[in-house]
């Protein structure tokens, strides 16, 4: 990481990050140094700039550290290096997903993936779609959204559902709720 001095704002962020992250990692017997926190703060600035994002709340790396702290893989890796890579994965993924996907689902995916693969480097190589399969909450939300797209309830309370996997673009195929097209043909 570049050795040039941090801006006052970045220094302030670095100090806050060190305090908060260490409070989460203390249960794992791990701490990050001031230098590592400074690198994390600078790396965060770079990620935000590269992904053209503005962070207005608590830096995402804090939530990552909190979720990451109980990981059994933490003891076998360099925590600061892992946090840096996972932070980068987070901002890249955040930028690709819509605002309706909360940060918590992305962080859940990242940390569960890290537990599975054991390496932040390997997590960083996964495409977003594959990474998000590690978030149960995200998968459930996606399924309910897909179901809602193809589900309609009329005024009488009758619900019509449509399974896109059964759509065969055949004019004679059953329509909504099994009604056949030839029901409309005048005798």
């Amino acid at each position: 990481m570049d050795a040039s001095p941090l801006s006052p704002k970045c220094s302030s962020v670095a100090e806050s990050l060190r305090t908060i992250i260490n409070s989460h990692l203390v249960s794992a017997g791990i701490t990050i140094t001031a230098s590592e926190a400074a690198d994390l703060a600078m790396h965060r600035e770079l990620c935000l700039r590269d992904n053209e994002r503005i962070e207005f709340g608590t830096p995402a790396v804090v939530a990552i550290a909190e979720e990451f702290a109980p990981s059994p893989c933490l003891k076998t890796c360099d925590a600061a290096d892992a946090l840096t890579r996972l932070q980068e994965v987070f901002y890249r993924t955040r930028d690709e997903l819509s605002v309706e996907v909360p940060d918590s689902e992305i962080i859940e995916a990242i940390c569960h993936c890290f537990d599975e693969l054991g390496s932040a480097f390997d997590v960083a190589t996964l495409p977003t779609e594959e990474l998000m399969t590690f978030s149960k909450t995200y998968q459930q939300a996606q399924e309910s959204t897909e179901e809602a797209c193809y589900c309609l309830t009329d005024d009488t309370g009758h619900t019509y559902t449509f399974d896109p996997t059964e759509w065969d673009y055949d004019e004679t195929a059953p329509g909504w709720n099994g009604e056949k097209w030839d029901d409309d043909i005048d005798e």
Partner: protein
Amino acid sequence: MRAQHNFAQLMAHVASLYCMNGSSSLSQQEMAELTLSIAYTLGLADATPEEAAQTLSADDPIALWHSHLAELDCRIDNALITWKRIVLAMPPIRNVALRDTLASIGDLKPRYDTRFAAHAVPCDIDYQLSEPIDTNLQGLDYIEAWLAQLERETMWIAQFDVDSCISTLERVCPDYRGLHINLYDLLSTHASELKLKM
């Protein structure tokens, strides 16, 4: 300094609402749109830096924003009252662009996102007015100016017998229903042929 702090606080509040408290960051583009929306809502779009600083130095910037949102809601209601006057006064001269535009403006309330896109014009405006509206106007300002102009045109047309208007239009522009024309422009140039209402 206080104005800057207040603005940052308000931006963070609105951004949190925008992402339903689920995220700590937004794209620069989304933040830019929210900034424009807040600036429009608080009346800062055309303000000088000093005026903007004075506005933003309020004790509670979030309460200030909410009070301006309430003012926007009142203006929406008044715009719809104008819209209703136009719809009731407009003679049944069936131009498609006019019909569709009025239908779109009639949906102003559900369409207009005052919290996150107050600066955007929320309706589909297809009908062309006799005098174009300043395209630099934003959000509800544009709609209000557009309706005011249409009301003037409508009230002029409404003084005449509708059958004489339609027969004049059919003669000077047979496809007046489908084309993107302005009824006032067409009729005013043939005013001498129109019969006043009894």
